[in-house]
């Protein structure tokens, strides 16, 4: 089916989220819709799925103008959404999840389990989406859960499939498998819309690329000829340098040393297995690995948020294994946490308050128990300007900031402290290209000032862009230590998958 959007305009109080958006998605083709956070991608998809009514413009499927009053209308017209955050019931089996809401019945209220299972199996075979209908959703990996979501929309008769940031939660191997699924769906004539801000993926898989910025279509690109730099420039509206320029590192003394650090869970299974590592002044050490291989625990062991079972953590030569997070902070450790909204900031607090979230307790931000509001405001004003947090209004709440600006706020808080060690976990996850570029520059600048940096990232591109040395984590262990200039993403990828040890 061919989908056409013509002149879609959607206004919210104070914001023109979509401005005269026109685009075409063709049958058997993949249209990649790219843009920064806040470019209007989500609004456009909500219009398409019947959640929002456009203020102007029309949706046309195979030459017929459609009017969606609710998401049900969109589904009946053949549009299926696969959301970034899966809408699955973890304690239900695969087939139960798939038929939820459209259950085949034997009589009123009596579930036809046999038919339901069969329908699921049929679709899974027809489209090559291998999945066991009887396993619990909570027991299967994220990549398979995504297949369940795809089967769900196919069962509901979708011919136009919309994927919202589908690879954000997948491992590199799962991404490859996912691309295989897309190719299969394509070959069966499905119309696919692929929303992403990962330019490489758009180039790899799309037949057409449409770029959104500030709610408008700012350009189309042919993936056969376009480059990532060109797309990034279109997305951001200015020239973007995707390569981080940095000189050879000049490592000094070891600032952070871990020696045989082991952390066991409540059942005595190792989350961290005898980890030893060093981070020197003036170098960036990147920790690569697929999500969930102990990186979170490693960071929390270093910052004191989780207790270490065995082994020692030394900072500036001192044993800090049993020190509290507060004492480590005041001893000179900065920490950009991996989960921005959950840990790194408080959404209901003002930007000013978030900027002193972990340093409020000391001078100059407080004297005794009295907070120094004036000092906090002045510092906050400086920081939002210096770190380019937009809008630069320190009385706004943290939750009013976009992902990229919230991350810049957190980076501002942690990087403005002149301390010897900075731990950054997923420093650029889910943020726009412009902010990524900025944060990467700040990280390299810290290194050149002679600070020690430990960067944990699941993005191989980021690891390679920043690291002087690369450590690969797999199953709670460090399985490889490589000099960034002597290795390749392929080699690191193999270690990440645990295939070479």
């Amino acid at each position: 089916m061919e989908l056409q959007l013509r002149g879609i305009t959607k206004r919210f109080p104070g914001v023109l989220a979509n401005d005269d958006v026109t685009l075409t998605a063709r049958s058997g083709k993949v249209l990649a819709l790219i843009g920064e956070n806040g470019a209007g991608k989500s609004t456009l998809m909500n219009v398409l799925s019947g959640l929002y009514h456009p203020d102007a413009g029309e949706i046309e499927i195979d030459g017929t103008v459609q009017k969606f009053d609710d998401p049900g209308d969109a589904i009946r017209a053949g549009i299926g959404m696969v959301h970034q955050h899966f809408m699955l019931v973890p304690v239900f089996s695969v087939w139960e999840n798939v038929v939820l809401g459209v259950e085949p019945t034997l009589g009123p209220g009596v579930l036809n389990r046999k038919k339901a299972r069969q329908e699921v199996r049929e679709i899974s075979e027809r489209f090559g989406l291998a999945v066991d209908p009887d396993v619990m959703v909570e027991d299967i990996p994220v990549g398979i859960q995504q297949r369940v979501e795809i089967i769900k929309v196919l069962l509901r008769g979708a011919k136009i499939l919309v994927f919202d940031e589908p690879t954000a939660v997948l491992t590199p191997q799962e991404v490859d498998e996912f691309f295989g699924i897309i190719a299969e769906l394509k070959s069966r004539g499905a119309t696919i819309i692929f929303i992403t801000h990962k330019l490489k993926e758009a180039l790899a898989i799309a037949d057409d690329i449409t770029v959104l910025r500030g709610g408008r279509v700012v350009g189309h690109a042919d993936p056969a000829t376009a480059t990532a730099e060109e797309l990034a420039t279109m997305m951001v509206g200015r020239d973007i340098d995707l390569v981080v320029n940095k000189a050879e590192s000049q490592p000094g003394d070891a600032v952070l040393e871990l020696d045989g650090v082991t952390m066991l869970d409540d059942y005595g299974r190792p989350l961290l297995n005898s980890i030893s590592l060093k981070v020197h002044a003036g170098e960036i050490v990147g920790v690569a690995g697929i999500q969930g291989n102990g990186q979170t625990e490693l960071v929390e062991a270093i910052t004191g948020l989780l207790p270490v079972t065995r082994g020692t953590v030394r900072f500036d030569g001192k044993d800090i294994t049993r020190m509290s997070p507060r004492d480590r902070h005041s001893a000179g450790m900065a920490h950009v946490p991996e989960d921005r909204n959950h840990m790194g900031m408080i959404g209901s607090f003002s930007v000013a308050e978030n900027l002193v979230l972990d340093s409020y307790y000391a001078r100059p931000f407080s004297k005794g128990i009295r907070l120094q509001g004036g000092e906090i405001s002045t510092t906050a004003e400086d920081l939002v300007e210096q770190f380019d947090v937009r809008p630069p209004i320190i009385s706004n709440t943290g939750s009013a900031l976009s992902g990229g600006n919230a991350q810049k706020m957190i980076v501002a808080r942690e990087f403005s402290r002149d301390v010897p060690l900075v731990i950054c976990a997923q420093p650029t996850r889910g943020i726009d290209v412009g902010s990524i570029e900025y944060i990467h520059e700040q990280i390299v600048k810290k290194r050149d000032e002679g600070r020690a940096l430990l960067i944990v990232s699941t993005e191989l591109d980021e690891i390679f862009a920043l690291s002087d040395r690369i450590l690969v984590m797999y199953d709670g262990r460090i399985v490889a230590e490589l000099k960034a200039s002597d290795t390749t993403p392929t080699e690191v990828g193999l270690y990440m998958a645990g295939r070479a040890a």
Binding site: G14, L16, G38, P325, H342, E353, G373, A400, S402
Partner: protein, 390 residues
């Protein structure tokens, strides 16, 4: 970069955690709406429904209006009415602050009732002991004893939450029962029971410990007492603590996002214990104020639901210390006026409870008010406490 998100959330959220003064906060448009307009409309709607209820019981429109006139007269119609309103409001300010400060730290203090009782008992104990002390020592000592007793009763659930994860809602409810029966026992013990009495009633507090009646020189029926100023001072102190100190910063951080608080090096368990001591202490002050300023002695059930009414007051006052004062004055006025309404207009004082309950329903469900009056409500700003499960 005003295009931060497609839903247009670029405005200042009506949370009073900012740096401006109270007045400045009230003057921002978003705050007017959620801070005052919604509660005001909630009160109006509750009064209208209350009127319908009066009429359903067989009263004419004229009688209904007369009943409301009596309600108004009984709350602000005369100096004596105002005195009654302030007397009723005094303990509500304190129990409201107790619930509010715990809310801010993410805890639901249902234990105000028990804390009022224990605080009242310790205050009355100090109040009838130490005869002969000068008033300027005895009175503050008795008031502080109320804070200490309530604080002790608040410490227990705070400590259990911090050490074992026991949910404070369960523990504070149970602590209420323990307090009720403990008070019943103590009032029959030789330490508390008045000589020559068989019923559970305590000795009278010494004159040197009693909170002086502010207007008794003018009219002996006016019962408003010095506790009012204690309550107002407590409101200012709670505001200062919450918004001007590192301790309050920690309270609010833990209440808003305990994970981020822990990341920032705060001790979440220390906050739980400390805030429950303060919350219990504030409720204890309310109990102390009642026995030292109004009742002169303790008897079973002298808490009279103050701890539970504190939840409503905190909710209506949006856990803002000054909002709590305003809400307590409103509830105090309804209580005082309700007595006048019952006496002169033949409408039962139970109607006041109905109106108070309706106000709380509308404040807790601002979408209802939004639908009735077509004003925009921000649902996210009305969350005052974390869910049961957290």
């Amino acid at each position: 970069m005003s295009l931060t998100s497609p839903d247009g959330k670029t405005t200042i959220e009506p949370d009073d955690s900012g740096w401006g003064t109270f007045v400045r906060r009230l003057s921002t448009s978003a705050d007017w709406k959620t801070g005052l307009v919604i509660p005001a409309l909630a009160v109006l709607t509750a009064l209208i429904i209350g009127a319908v209820i009066i009429m359903l019981t067989g009263s004419s429109l004229q009688e209904t209006l007369q009943a409301y006139w009596a309600l108004l007269e009984g709350s602000v119609g005369s100096l004596r009415a105002i005195s009654a309103t302030l007397t009723e409001a005094t303990p509500l300010i304190l129990t409201g602050l107790s619930v509010a400060i715990a809310f801010r730290a993410g805890l639901f203090n249902i234990g105000g009732e028990g804390q009022v009782l224990i605080g009242g008992m310790t205050a009355v104990l100090v109040g009838f002991s130490f005869a002969g002390l000068p008033w300027f020592i005895h009175m503050p000592l008795a008031v502080i004893a109320g804070f200490v007793g309530g604080g002790l009763w608040g410490f227990v659930p705070g400590f259990l939450k911090a050490k074992t994860g026991a949910h404070e809602v369960i523990v504070t409810i149970m602590m209420n029962y323990i307090a009720i029966y403990l008070v019943g026992y103590l009032l029959k013990s030789s330490l508390f029971q008045r000589e020559g009495r068989n019923d559970p009633i305590s000795k009278n507090v010494e004159a040197s410990a009693a909170l002086p009646k502010l207007l008794a020189w003018f009219d002996s029926a006016m019962r408003v007492h010095l506790g009012l100023f204690v309550a107002l001072a407590a409101a200012v102190a709670v505001w200062w603590l919450l918004f001007r100190t590192t301790t309050g910063f920690e309270f609010r951080a833990v209440g808003a996002n305990p994970h981020a608080a822990r990341y920032a090096g705060m001790s979440v368990t220390k906050v739980y214990v400390l805030v429950m001591i303060i919350a219990g202490g504030l409720a204890g002050l309310a109990g102390g104020g009642q026995v030292l300023g109004v009742l002169d002695r303790a008897s079973p059930g002298f808490s009279a639901g103050l701890g539970f009414d504190g939840i409503s007051v905190a909710l209506l006052g949006r856990s803002n210390p000054f909002g709590v004062v305003a809400a307590a004055l409103l509830f105090g006025g309804l209580n005082a006026g309700g007595q006048n309404m019952q006496a002169t207009a033949n409408v039962g004082i139970d109607l006041v409870s109905v109106i108070q309950a309706l106000i709380i329903i509308f404040v807790a469900a601002p979408a209802l008010i939004g639908a009735i009056y077509r004003v925009k409500t921000d649902a996210s700003s009305t969350q005052i406490s974390q869910g049961w499960s957290s």
